[in-house]
Each structure stands twice: as structure tokens, then as C-alpha cells.
């Protein structure tokens, strides 16, 4: 049953070992955590592992949780850190600088994906990891500039610069779609 408690109240209940409260938090935020991880690493299976790991880190650290920042930002920060670590470890395998295209999409799913959507996915995958993170949090997850900076352990100005550079790259790569 959906709880009316705030995220922070649920997290405090989870601190006392209340698994039902933790489950509510997972249900509320599973989509954003999974989506963020998917857009960062470009693979469904890896996104599932990373998003699961993020929630388990939250659960493990529940005794140390202090509701000083919004739970949502706290979770994004953990997801982002895990994804960046994962990408750093994977980097030697990506010889052409491209993040791997999702190997778990069926032929039908790939065909259904519009040409533009596929181009967007590939263009985002080509961005440096920190620019990709800023794009994902800001434009897909709808975080404010300040929340994006908090989730990235960075400053608002640094995020502004990352976004400006990323937008320039995307405008070049997606130039065909700017003409109509």
C-alpha cells in the first residue's frame, strides 16, 4: 500500500529496521534510479545491477543517514557514483570510445526505436561521463541546477559549463535533426 510519509520519514523508519518502509522507498524511486543508470551505462542488465546496488547501499548506510538533503538527491548521488566507478572500470574495453549499445534490446525493439531516438542514445553515449551525467540528471531526470550539482558533488557553475559543452557536442552530432 502506498504510504503518505515523506521519503525522509520512510528512511528514518527504515533505520529502525522497517523493511516495509524501505520497500516503499524502492517503489517510489526505482524508475528514476534504473533510468539514470540505464542512460549512464547503456545496458539494461548493468543498469539493473547498478540500480539494485544503489538501493542496497542506501539500506546498508541507513544508520548513518541524516535528512540534511532530499532523499532523492541522496539516491541520485549514489547511483551516479556507482555508474561512474563502473564506467571507469569498463573503459579499457571500450576501444572506440563508444559506450556499448544495449545488447539486450531485441531486433523488434531496435526497429521500433525511431531513427532519432537511436541517434540521441548514441550521441549521449559518446559524451564524456561527467557531461553525460549532467545531461541525464538535468534534462532527463529534471533536477534543478543546484540538485544536479549536489548529486554530482560539484558546483552549480561547474555543472553549467559541463552542460554548455555537452549541448555543443550534441548539436553537432544531432545536426540532421535540427534542420526540420
Amino acid at each position: 500500500m502506498e504510504s503518505s510519509l515523506s521519503d525522509e520519514a520512510l528512511m528514518l523508519a527504515a533505520t529502525g529496521g522497517d523493511l516495509a518502509a524501505f520497500e516503499q522507498l524502492v517503489l517510489r524511486h526505482q524508475e528514476s534510479a534504473w533510468r539514470t543508470a540505464y542512460r549512464m551505462v547503456g545496458c539494461r542488465r548493468e543498469a539493473e545491477d547498478l540500480a539494485q546496488e544503489a538501493f542496497l547501499r542506501v539500506f546498508e548506510a541507513r544508520d548513518r543517514y541524516r535528512p540534511t538533503a532530499a532523499f532523492r538527491t541522496y539516491l541520485y548521488r549514489i547511483v551516479v557514483r556507482l555508474c561512474l566507478d563502473h564506467l571507469r572500470k569498463r573503459r579499457p574495453l571500450a576501444t572506440d570510445g563508444l559506450a556499448p549499445v544495449d545488447s539486450q534490446l531485441s531486433a523488434e525493439q531496435q526497429a521500433a526505436e525511431s531513427e532519432q531516438a537511436q541517434a540521441v542514445r548514441e550521441a549521449i553515449a559518446c559524451l564524456p561521463a561527467n557531461q553525460r551525467t549532467a545531461i541525464v540528471l538535468r534534462y532527463y531526470e529534471g533536477l534543478s541546477g543546484r540538485e544536479t550539482a549536489e548529486a554530482m558533488d560539484s558546483s552549480v557553475k561547474a555543472v553549467e559549463r559541463l552542460l554548455a559543452r555537452a549541448r555543443k557536442t550534441l548539436e553537432v552530432r544531432l545536426g540532421d535533426f535540427f534542420r526540420d
Binding site: 524502492v26 526505482q30 549521449i124 538535468r138
Partner: protein
């Protein structure tokens, strides 16, 4: 304001996240700069293009799998908390009992040796030899434990304490 500064603030300008002073500065720059107006139009177009690439749906049962793992983790943590404390107290009890048993055994052995030496000294070699022939305990070197008239272990102990008093 330079074009670079204005363009880096475009997304916060569009999202109404700038302070009123910053917003006024960017707005004034946009009015006077065609290049930044084009950049703003491109930015709005890019937002539309990005929105046209939705992520696939989350795999079914995701939350159940996370909660199951959390439950396992919680149970393991509870076991590891309980385990060492129980083992510690069990070892403490065992150590204490062993120390008590050792002290008791040492006391008994000491009493036995003292009683035997006192009895041998007072009874003389003939009495010892006679006792060794008639009693199993005496044959085993524990003749001081043999009850023989007034020369029992108890009598020996009493004699020893009386000698000590004199």
C-alpha cells in the same frame, strides 16, 4: 555579459532558476545578441529532441529483488551481531570454570602431598612398609590416606597444625 556566460546560463534561464538580477542580465544580452538568440532557439530544439528518446521500461520485479536482497543482508547482519557476543560469553564461562577446576586440583594435590610426608615422618619406615602390604592405597604411595588407629590423614593434619602452633 559575454556570449559564453550568457549561453552557459541558458538552461537555468529557461528553467527560471536564475536570480532576478542574473535573469535581467541574460535577458538584456539576448535582446542585443542574435548569436545567443540562435543558441537559445537551438537549446529549445535540443530539449525536444532529447525528450523524444525515452528509456525502456524498468524490468518487472525489480523492487521485489531489491527488497529480498535487503532482507538477506539484514538477517546476515543480525547473525553476525549475535554470534560474537554469544561466543565471547561462552568462552568466558569456559575459561572461568577451567581456572576454578585447576585451582581446586592444585589445592587437593598439595594437601595430599603434605599429609603423606607428615604421616611418613611420624609413623616411621616400619609402619609405612606394614601399611603398604595390607592396603591398596598405601601400596600406591597413598598410605597417608589409610585409616589406622590414630594415624589417619585427619590426625596427621591436626598434628601438623599443633606442631605449627608450638
Amino acid at each position: 555579459m559575454r556570449c559564453g556566460d550568457a549561453q552557459s546560463k541558458l538552461d537555468r534561464f529557461v528553467a527560471h532558476e536564475l536570480t532576478s538580477a542574473e535573469r535581467a542580465q541574460v535577458g538584456a544580452h539576448l535582446e542585443s545578441c542574435a548569436a545567443c538568440r540562435r543558441a537559445l532557439a537551438k537549446f529549445r530544439r535540443l530539449q525536444g529532441i532529447l525528450a523524444d528518446a525515452p528509456a525502456p521500461p524498468i524490468p518487472g520485479g525489480f523492487a521485489d529483488r531489491v527488497v529480498a536482497r535487503a532482507r538477506t543482508q539484514q538477517a546476515a547482519a543480525a547473525r553476525s551481531k549475535r554470534g560474537p557476543r554469544f561466543e565471547q560469553s561462552a568462552w568466558k564461562t569456559i575459561h572461568f570454570s577451567a581456572a576454578r577446576a585447576a585451582a581446586l586440583a592444585a589445592g587437593l594435590l598439595l594437601g595430599l602431598l603434605m599429609g603423606r610426608d607428615t604421616w611418613r615422618a611420624s609413623a616411621g619406615p616400619q609402619a609405612v612398609a606394614a601399611a603398604q602390604q595390607t592396603d591398596v592405597l598405601a601400596a600406591a604411595g597413598l598410605e597417608s590416606l589409610v585409616e589406622s588407629g590414630g594415624d589417619s590423614l585427619a590426625h596427621s593434619y591436626i598434628r601438623l597444625t599443633l606442631v605449627g602452633e608450638r
